[in-house]
């Protein structure tokens, strides 16, 4: 497929590129226009893919969201913005968004404290630094589905290892059915995600730390700044680009989270929707879930929610980037 497209591409280019000067004026002018647009031949094959599998679905998705289509059948009658109104006035949307927000804030704090601290330790270049870094980044490579299974196993009350481990340390009272206790399910999902995303914080902060010129830290030292002051007054402000990137990355990641929740607590965000997030809500609205009556399952409604989330995320991340960038300049 790809090769075909490429060879289609090659022919007109060969004409437009070579022996232009020898042709008569009209042809030369045509050649000139062809040459002016020649670069578009390179864009075309990718653009076709992009239009067919991205732009077209996005536009038709918007069109579908304005109808009452359920996902099966041909009832495409136009209902305007009703799906959007229903979505925005239904509380499951806010409940799910609230869970996303909790996850975002918790993981953000974790990344900027634990992640930064470990990055600082690695930046001191201890022996085996490469080994540590390789290990700590490993979970980022592992899929969220695999992460979910690993931790389902670790946390399971029947076959897991966490509870027996706590019991053997005399901490049996801390043993819980982690993923089915309504109070613990969400914190547990967050903890599992921390395990998975720690590598990002370490790599991003480490890159930031390594780009700081040593002279600056030394100069501060000569001026009599102690270690604490050197870190917070000199090093940390210089890390603000890393801070921005990591914050935005975490924001996008946490508001799009789906796989790991699906694997750990299922498409209905059990127990009792305590771990329901926007991703699972959209999935359920489109394809159903055990607790949904068939009235609630509407493809058009699901797309409407996805659109709302998309717009909200685009707005918030733009603001986030703008605010954080301004902070970088000040610093």
């Amino acid at each position: 497929m790809v090769d075909q497209l490429a060879s289609v591409n090659r022919a007109p280019l060969a004409q437009s590129g070579s022996d232009v000067p020898r042709r008569p004026l009209a042809a030369r002018r045509r050649g000139k226009t062809a040459r002016k647009y020649a670069h578009l031949w390179f864009v075309l094959p990718g653009l076709l893919f992009f239009c067919l599998f991205m732009i077209y679905p996005a536009i038709s998705g918007f069109a579908i969201s304005l109808t009452a289509w359920t996902g099966v059948g041909n009832d495409f009658h136009f209902i305007g913005l009703q799906n959007f109104v229903t979505a925005l006035t239904s509380w499951p949307l806010y409940r799910a968004a609230w869970h996303n927000l909790i996850m975002f804030v918790a993981i953000l704090i974790f990344q900027h404290t634990v992640g930064l601290f470990i990055a600082v330790q690695l930046n001191a270049k201890p022996r085996f630094m490469e080994v540590y870094r390789t290990i700590l980044f490993l979970p980022v490579i592992i899929s969220l589905v695999s992460t979910g299974f690993i931790w389902t196993l670790m946390l399971s009350p029947n076959i897991g290892v966490i509870n027996p481990l706590l019991q053997s340390m005399g901490l049996g009272f801390l043993a819980h059915s982690w993923l089915s206790d309504p109070h613990l399910a969400l914190p547990t999902v967050i903890a599992v995600q921390c395990w998975n995303v720690l590598g990002w914080a370490i790599i991003i902060y480490l890159a930031g730390l390594q780009s700081i010129p040593e002279e600056l830290v030394q100069a501060a030292e000569m001026d009599g700044a102690n270690g604490w002051q050197r870190f917070w007054r000199v090093v940390f402000p210089l890390l603000s680009p890393s801070f921005t990137s990591l914050t935005v990355l975490t924001f996008i990641g946490q508001f799009r989270v789906f796989d790991i929740v699906y694997v750990l607590t299922g498409p209905i965000g059990s127990p009792n929707f305590e771990t329901d997030v926007l991703g699972t809500l959209i999935y359920r609205s489109a394809f159903g879930g055990s607790s949904m009556s068939s009235n609630d399952v509407r493809m058009s409604y699901a797309i409407a929610i996805a659109l709302i989330v998309f717009v909200a995320m685009a707005v918030v991340s733009t603001i986030l980037i703008r605010v954080l960038r301004r902070r970088e300049i000040d610093a």
């Binding site: 599998f53 579908i64 030292e221 270690g227």
Partner: protein, 291 residues
Amino acid sequence: MTMTVAAIPHRKPRSRKQDRRAASFARHLLLIAVSIIILLPIGYMILASFKSVADFFGNPYGLPTDWAFDNYTRAWTDAHVSITLPNTIIVTLCSVAGSTFLASLIAFGLSRKERPLAIGLYTLFVSGLLVPVQMIILPLFILLKQLGLFGTLFALILPYIALGLPLGVLVLTPIAAAIPRDLVSAAQVDGATEWQIYRRVVLPLLKPGLISVAILNGVWMWNEFFIPLIVAFRPQAQTMPVGIVSFIGVYSTEWGLVFASVVISTIPIVVAYLLMTRQFQSGLTAGALKG
């Protein structure tokens, strides 16, 4: 935080040797502890993949009493790994190759900003990064059905190629734009066609970027769960992550098989990571930061 403080004057060799020793010891202790927290669950899962059903309940931690190697042989047949593993490899390789190649063409085409439409098209491609999969997946589902691609690997490969483009364009276009004009003009004077310039001059210079893009897209394509969950129902068209999840629905107690499948699905990407640790770390970070 005291450790941080002690860590900074590391390069002053005269300052209190004992303190430095203690700090370095504490640092190693911490890093080893964190490494264990990262590695332990992975190791435990590998052990679990060799356990029989009885072992899971009778002997939750500790080595398997009798190593159930047949978890793997049975995963290969019963959990359809024999189908989904080659599927995952084919889908990832084709999509990475297609997407990286097309993105490099686009990057070359758009690298000269003064050309008509260059900036507009670049913005169009890059804004694709913002589009969440959830928004396009349902129309995509319908489209793939109409195209008759359902049940084939093309139902995954073609969308993956398109979804990989924004990142590829984002990473590669600046690199292509930074190639000195003189190089291109020299080739033009020598009578090279645009294709030849792309092939002989630009492509070799894009190589580090191409590796980044390939890793970046390869990792998510290998691990992608949501798209195949929606568009691939049967093992014949599934990749491993979804294959494992749908297998669970069928035999919910066969944990040994599940973990054997998870281990198989994880090995290739971890091996690739260990072989090219540096490229993975820098490639993924660069992509994440720009995204």
